[in-house]
């Protein structure tokens, strides 16, 4: 497989006309490589769903170009559909009264599979998501996690080279969510290019290699996950619980503590979250010096994650 799995160049999508026109995507450009998971982040209304719709060939772009596995989604929608699996989260999108096998049989036909191939592909897809034993059961009798794995099986039945995942772990318990993540990670390792949208940023941290952040219809950030986490301006949060006079956290000349946020303060003591630029020996020494005359009960250090970076960038981008 050569070339990017997904190429998006100056993609613009405008809904409506004239004064009521709304720009959902404004000159968005990025790529997804094979064997890579790119997380598409953004607040509600940022344009994520519009972008997935364009990639799934359900919506035409107003301007710009989009290719999926080298196929232009406007001029060659059928080949693009044949190689791209689209997986949604949630309970909808399935025929509840039909069995898993019958659902897969129909979706296999929609994926362009010949009848002689469908049976084997169904068995394979069910095995990949560990649902083989339930093939003859009605979908309405499945748990949410099982339905989500069925969604994945539907996405896999065409052996996709590109996978579009829209909230794949929404509403799942931690065990099922981890199962779904393991399947997605395996697909990535097998060379499938994956574009993932999720509000569960733990999915992003566990799976994605890169983050594209949409804000106000534009790409606000496009970088590796580690780099994205650092864009918050702090690399760790130190939570300190203590009693006695509250130290002056920002007293260091090197400005090691970026921000201090009191979470609680009462007769039993206080608790503070300190955002530090770098969790280092210098910070440790600085904090220790502030603890003179203070009773410290607890100190916790947490590395800055995607969620904190996402919140920090979103706050900065907010009008």
């Amino acid at each position: 497989m050569t070339g990017p799995a997904i190429t998006i160049r100056d993609l613009t999508r405008v809904y409506g006309r004239g004064e009521t026109a709304v720009t959902a995507l404004d000159k968005v450009s990025f790529d997804v490589r094979y064997g890579q998971i790119v997380a598409l982040l953004g607040s509600n209304g940022a344009g994520k769903t519009t972008l997935i719709k364009v990639l799934a060939t359900l919506l035409l772009p107003s301007a710009g170009s989009v290719t999926v596995a080298g196929h232009d989604v406007v001029r060659q929608p059928k080949p693009a559909r044949a190689v791209a699996g689209v997986v949604f989260g949630g309970d909808r999108g399935l025929y509840g009264r039909l069995t898993l096998r019958d659902n897969l049989r129909y979706f296999g036909m929609l994926a362009g599979l010949a009848r002689r191939d469908i049976g084997a592909r169904i068995d394979q897809a069910l095995a990949e998501v560990n649902l083989s034993d339930l093939a003859g059961r009605r979908v309405e009798a499945l748990s949410r996690g099982m339905r989500q794995r069925l969604h994945l099986a539907i996405g896999l039945i065409r052996r996709p080279r590109v996978l579009l995942l829209d909230e794949p772990t929404v509403g799942l318990d931690p065990v099922e969510a981890e199962r779904v993540r393991a399947i997605v990670a395996r697909l990535r390792d097998e060379g499938v290019g994956v574009l993932l949208t999720s509000h569960y940023l733990v999915d992003v941290e566990r799976l994605a290699g890169r983050v594209v952040l949409l804000s106000d219809a534009k790409v606000a950030a496009d970088m590796a996950v580690d780099e994205f986490a650092r864009t918050s301006g702090f690399s760790a949060t130190v939570t300190v619980r203590g009693k006695g006079p509250v130290p002056d956290w920002g007293s260091d000349p090197a400005k090691l503590v970026v921000q201090a946020t009191s979470a609680r303060g009462d007769a039993d003591g206080w608790e503070v979250d300190l955002r530090v630029r770098e969790w280092s020996a210098a910070v440790f020494r600085h904090l220790s010096s502030l603890f003179d005359g203070v009773t410290v009960y607890d100190v916790k250090v947490r590395e800055t994650g995607v969620e904190e970076a996402f919140l920090a960038i979103s706050r900065r981008a907010a009008p």
Partner: protein, 260 residues
């Protein structure tokens, strides 16, 4: 595999899928395919003043077509509405096979099922009523019924465009149902229609299906009815194919279908 063979395979897969869906929910099918024709047949046969075979035959044809059309056209048209409700419509729209083939196949499934159920219901009901029905020409009646089923499948497929365009497809199609029945002469004789409206019924294939079958029950062949039924069905098919292509293009431009 040739494109034609692939198209047939898609159509048959769609038909099998739709029959599976109908079989999992018998209530709707029982109302449309069993209760409706049985009740209508009891009312119509019981109310025929002249129990002459021709009059009874005419009543039976009217009931059969009303039952078939209300089952096939409106159920066939509604297959995409069901998909919209379940969140599976987008998957159909962005499927690799042409959406028209998928919908035609699913309408075919509805037609096969409806034809069998309505025929069985009417046979059993007439037997229970001890009402003999004289079929003048079995061949012509069979041909007429086959053409009626094809025509209703085509009309159902055309109407399903409504469900791609609007969330109010069920209301629009329900509003159309009884005017169409009246214009076809299925519920009342066409002579009851206001004169300025009668030309409209000439453009509805089922009006000619009714005439073809009524004549066939009496053993007569009506070439005008046959020609009009076939011609209008072909015209609907071309118009539907064009409309479907335009509508699928429109929904991609306007984004009227949600992902789930």
């Amino acid at each position: 595999m040739s494109r034609f063979a692939a198209a047939i395979e898609v159509g048959l897969a769609g038909a099998r899928h739709e029959i599976r869906l109908i079989l999992t929910s018998w209530t709707g099918a029982a109302i449309l395919g069993i209760a409706q024709p049985a009740v209508l047949l009891v009312l119509v046969v019981g109310s025929v003043a002249d129990p002459a075979p021709a009059e009874v035959g005419r009543g039976v044809v009217g009931v059969a077509l009303t039952a078939l059309w209300s089952f096939t056209v409106w159920t066939g048209a509604g297959v995409l509405q069901g998909d919209r409700q379940q969140g599976t419509l987008a998957a159909c729209v962005i499927g690799v096979p042409d959406l028209r083939l998928v919908v035609i196949g699913r309408s075919l499934g509805v037609n096969i099922f409806a034809g069998l159920v309505v025929a069985a219901t009417m046979t059993v009901t007439l037997a229970l009523l001890r009402q003999p029905v004289r079929v003048g020409s079995v061949g012509l009646v069979t041909l007429g019924l086959a053409l009626v089923l094809v025509s209703s499948m085509v009309v159902g497929t055309c109407l399903s465009c409504l469900f791609l365009l609007s969330r109010f497809g069920p209301q629009i199609s329900a509003a159309l149902m009884y005017p169409v029945f009246l214009l076809c002469g299925l519920l009342t004789p066409l002579t009851f229609l206001p004169v300025p409206l009668r030309w409209v019924s000439d453009g509805i294939s089922m009006r000619w299906g009714m005439r073809l079958l009524t004549e066939a029950m009496s053993g007569r062949f009506d070439p005008v009815a046959l020609g009009m039924l076939v011609g209008l069905t072909v015209a609907y098919a071309f118009a539907g194919a064009y409309a479907f292509a335009r509508v699928t293009d429109l929904i991609r431009r306007e984004g009227t279908v949600e992902l789930v």
